[in-house]
Amino acid sequence: MQTVTLPDGIHQQWPFAPRFARVNGWRMHYVDEGAGDPVVLLHGNPTWGFLYRDFVAPLTQAGHRVIIPDMIGFGLSEKPTREHYHSLDGHIANLAALLRGLNLDRITLVSHDWGGPTGLGFALGNPGGMRALVLMSTWSWPLPPAEFHTRIFPWRMMHAPLVGPYLLGRHNALAGRGVYLSVVDRARFAERAMAAYESVLSDPATRLLTWVWPRWIPLDDTARALDRFAWLERELRACTLPALLVWGREDDVFNPAIFATRFKHLLPQAEGPHLVTGRHFLQEDSGPEIAAHIVDFLRRVP
């Protein structure tokens, strides 16, 4: 069994009891705090539940049950070592296995990055169990990609064949430096949080998903998950769930003027976008402020 030792300074910020569930044959870590209607917070690449450390107290104090899973391949969850394990549909099924196993109802899903397509894949396939959606710096349609994702430097080179396993595998480039480059207050991030993301991907073989997820982002109509993303967009257009959009003003991956606007077009009932200080990993710069937006939003949702 793979084991992960969190540095002391990280443990203090993440004091929650670890829980584990079997999902599709793999060991998924999650935390489950508080009581009330559940709020499920979903991270993306290359982070884990730690990204939401500032959300737990305000949400539980407001009367919510907070569930934060680590995607299989990240955080304290088991990490497959073959690229072919990972697929968008497989990760949606992993989430479905966890949430059905917990027998949840009236779920609010909070989704960031790949937590968007995976979380929405569950939510839109199981609308009866849902209460609301919160979306941050993500997307859920086939094309066009973010301009950032079309560039060879640095995005496509970073995960190119053999280059990805070298830069992101041998050198763990995305979990530390990559996140560092995508926050606003880099000094604070380096001091308080960077070790949390680097330490859980301690060996090259554990870092596989950091270069595999980028390869699942559709860049043209030959992409593997194009049909799933087309389904997501169709279902989003028909979705009437209450929704909240929160975006980082400085987001240079999923530009809010393009991506939040498109979500607003697909979900015209959505509140926001509320713009906060933040690049792609906006939770690192504005965690308490975003949590307050969610608490306020849920106070008004039936």
Binding site: E83, I152, P154, A160, P161, L167, A173
Partner: protein, 139 residues
């Protein structure tokens, strides 16, 4: 110049193949697979033997190509250092050699894929060997 050359199959007497890097999806960008097919004549040679490289450090490497049902060949590749059978790897040398091999690959893939973009990406992510190269990234 990358200091990497293709060589004939070397003698493996007293040697072992030490696994150092793998790629499960060589055709993710098709031009990468095309490069290896051209460079190692893989349409003719197939799985008959690995490809072999020598790098400036003097180290030799075997490229073991992987086939996968339903996918164009090769679907993947493993890079193995050829080292004395009972001796440990010098990890710093291997890392430097792999960085040189990546330069050779990108140079061979060509087109929009440039060695300068590889170096700049390496510098952006503070890869130690990339920081030794002249460049622009100041982030």
């Amino acid at each position: 110049m990358t200091g990497v050359t293709m060589i004939a199959p070397p003698s493996l007497d007293g040697k072992r193949l030490a696994f150092v890097l793998a790629e499960d999806r060589l055709g993710h960008y098709a031009e990468f697979r095309d490069f290896f097919v051209r460079a190692f004549d893989l349409d003719r040679i197939g799985l008959a033997r690995p490809g072999f490289l020598r790098v400036a450090s003097g180290g030799s490497y075997a490229l073991v190509f992987i086939g996968r049902s339903g996918e164009a060949f090769p679907s993947g590749v493993e890079i193995h250092a050829i080292v004395p059978a009972l001796e440990p790897l010098d990890e710093a040398v291997v890392d430097r050699d792999l960085w040189a091999i990546l330069h050779w690959i990108i140079d061979g893939v060509g087109g929009a894929w440039t060695v300068e973009a590889l170096q700049e990406t390496g510098r952006l992510f503070r890869i130690p060997l990339a920081m030794e190269e002249p460049g622009r990234s100041e982030l």
